[in-house]
Symmetry: C2
Subunit: 257 residues, 2 copies
């Protein structure tokens, strides 16, 4: 399904990134794994990079070959980390890396962004999201101050803005057949699930009571792999919830259905 494709997976050393790297490799892809820490079990070629650091991203991109068929932007920080770091890695670094890689993408390449159920409130945050369009690495602390982005809000905001950025690029590169989409897991059973629930508070606890079980990295990776494959070529600028029904549950309750 992914035979002969060269794919970059960020966040490949753990969780959903590790599951994705392993899965796409098993489907025939040539994987370039990127993470800030080296993986226990490397999949394909590993390149260390720090997505909060422009110079580190520049070095990463310089070391990449041309003709890349897909980029899975899975690296991200949880809401337990300092707010400015979360926005810098999950949003600014992700966007900077993606835009730097676009010239190295092959025609018909696919970009997949790991968003989150936490980003579903983007329609209520459009003002701050618009203001983030030109945000650079150095401007993040001032931006967070100006938009009251502190604590766990940094995580929600980074995912809201990521979903919007994905929609905004629905057909930016369509003349080359390059598309971008997002995948939004709900709570996923990784080592940081407990931190998520504690940090996100009552809503996350309620979500966990509503669910029959949390998601697993192996639930999410096949959807990322599908979006990286040619089978999904007509899906553009879309955010796909992969959350066991949580997003639909929120929508139904919001609309009295």
């Amino acid at each position: 399904m992914l035979d002969g494709k060269t794919l970059i997976v960020t966040g490949a050393s753990s969780g959903i990134g590790a599951a994705t790297a392993a899965l796409v490799a098993s489907q025939g892809a040539d994987v370039i794994s990127v993470d800030i820490v080296a993986p226990a079990m490397p999949v394909g070629r590993f390149i260390q990079a720090d997505l909060s650091d422009r110079a580190s991203i520049d070095r990463l991109v310089a070391s990449l070959p041309d003709g890349i068929d897909g980029l899975a932007n899975i690296a991200g920080l949880p809401p337990t980390r300092p707010a400015a770091d979360v926005v810098r890695v999950n949003l600014v670094g992700l966007k900077y890396l993606t835009e730097a890689i676009v010239p190295k993408l092959a025609n018909d390449a696919s970009i997949v962004n790991l968003a989150s159920l936490a980003g579903l409130g983007w329609p209520e945050a459009t003002e701050a999201i618009r203001a983030s369009a030109a945000l650079d690495f150095d401007g993040v602390p001032a931006f967070c101050d100006a938009h009251a982005i502190e604590g766990a809000r940094s995580y929600f905001f980074s995912k809201e803005a990521l979903i919007v950025w994905t929609m905004q690029h629905r057909w930016t590169w369509r003349s080359r057949g390059i598309r971008m989409n997002a995948v939004s897991p709900g709570p996923v059973d990784t080592p940081i699930l407990k931190d998520f629930i504690e940090t996100l508070g009552a809503r996350a606890e309620e979500d966990m009571r509503t669910m029959d079980r949390p998601g697993r990295p192996g639930d999410i990776a096949p959807v990322v792999a599908f979006l990286l494959s040619d089978a999904s070529a007509w899906i553009r600028g879309t955010n796909i919830p992969v959350d066991g029904g949580m997003f639909s549950d929120v929508l139904c309750r919001m609309h009295g259905l």
Copy 2:
């Protein structure tokens, strides 16, 4: 990918249904094709049925085996047909068929409903959608009168209600691992594309100017096949736009992004 699965595809004689039946058969599925007219090139076993007619659906279901792994509800009427017929086939017949088949589904089966970009306005139609919950075949003309559903509105309404019904069943059958999702194409290049554009008027013409090309059945079928496969097991109650970016375009314009 679908090896050994028994899948039912309605509307299998033309367009997206025919493309889906052919694709899932090529992926190893045992296909039961359903349509009101016999296909030119039958895929698997063909059963004739009229989804506007309860007795015909009852006969269809009685003839089906147990242990069905998936149901692709693709049959549907275009907005050029009488309003009551559109609602009867696209909504009432689809729901009746699905609920009748559930007892014959295997654990972990997948149901996929072909909705449409035309259904994106469901949040503005929740009152009529709620009223349609108990709608039966005979009640359709009075229902359409009561809710001012005439002409092309029948098509929009049927797809709005289908998206909502899909969300409402996000986890109705989760104890058996059975899930239901929807796929929403934009304009698709089938023999009735011109009828769609004429009937739907200015909006559809504008859509076609915005798109680089219309969709094709071969763009949509792989997404239906993915949702029928185990790779999508954690996607529940979700509507996936497969429209080259049209839905994201509408959302961005709606929110000034």
